[in-house]
Symmetry: C2
Subunit: 173 residues, 2 copies
DNA sequence: TTGCTTACTTACTACTAAGTAAGTATATTG
DNA sequence: CAATATACTTACTTAGTAGTAAGTAAGCAA
């Protein structure tokens, strides 16, 4: 719910009302569960961190190139739903977020980067993924491509994601 | 002024006051020049489109790989200043923007994509730039890498931009 | 000098935001 | 059954937002 709002309108462009009204409750009911808006943001991020950890754990036994495809599929679904990625949305508003939220955003970014770096490193060892340079630089590039492909899709049309994702996978596998 | 605010706080997170106060004028003075906030946004985007056109025209005589480096330098400066790219910032808030602003954001994205696609195409012909796949897909990837590298730099530290930019140039040249 | 334009200020409206305090219905538990 | 916790509602405060209407001071133009 709040997740969807952050991904469509941005953290600073939605209000408690936007969450309360569709649930047919009052404004204050949301304040009961999340006293400050920052608590709402933290909830959204923590939820995402947990979901990401669960997903990657589930993929653990797969070959690295297939794990990569799984990650791409997550973004493909978001593209289809008209959502952008949480990192992308919150990075834009980063300077306006509470220190607690900033810390969580950093944590979320770090864990994605760490997982992706490790995936690429192992994939290269197993000759399933091919790239030049360090695994970390390549992980940063993939993260940034996935993130911005959703942003560009919004502005230039959803084909942008498809073109980027296809080329990215072709380059690596 | 407004440009800087959009690039740091985002379009929905700054107010007329943020522009008026540093100039030591009243709120209404800004409304005199830009009646609605959308007009302010349009002013910022039009300014960027003009600046981009002027820059690329100035680079026209350079070899394509050097034109690419010039583009990277623009982003490098923004990274240094703690700014994110206009496209990135406005794409996040896209759904909340007026139709007029959305149209300008689209126009800005299209012209950057068009220029970059052409630059890559010519660069490949002249054997100065090397890549697989279509020039358009590659242009989208470069755009998205530059865009998100500024976003990730904010969250993960400014080294993120440097790593992405360096690897990207190494891949292409 | 009169009239007109530019670039404001003052003072406001209408609205929306986050957040809170106090009260209430319902369910759970000792 | 009484006490308590949960999940709200009602009604409010405070503070900020975009935007406007009316007035004004300075400069320029015929």
């Amino acid at each position: 719910m709040a997740d969807r709002l952050v991904r469509t309108k941005g953290f600073n462009a939605f209000s408690y009302k936007d969450i309360a009204a569709p649930l047919d409750v009052k404004n204050a009911a949301i304040h009961y569960h999340f006293p400050a808006k920052s608590d709402l943001g933290i909830g959204v991020i923590d939820n995402e961190i947990t979901k990401f950890a669960a997903s990657t754990a589930k993929w653990k036994k797969l070959p690295e190139d297939e794990q990569l495809v799984k990650l791409f599929d997550v973004f493909r679904k978001h593209n289809h739903a008209g959502n952008i990625c949480l990192m992308g949305s919150l990075a834009t508003d980063y300077e306006t977020l509470s220190p607690e939220m900033q810390q969580r955003v950093h944590q979320m970014g770090s864990s994605i980067l760490q997982w992706l770096t490790n995936c690429l490193e192992q994939g290269r060892k197993n000759k399933r993924i091919h790239f030049k340079g360090t695994a970390e630089a390549r992980a940063l590039m993939i993260m940034s491509n996935l993130q911005s492909s959703l942003l560009l899709s919004r502005v230039l049309g959803p084909a942008a994601f498809k073109k980027i994702a296809a080329q990215l996978l072709a380059d690596l596998c």
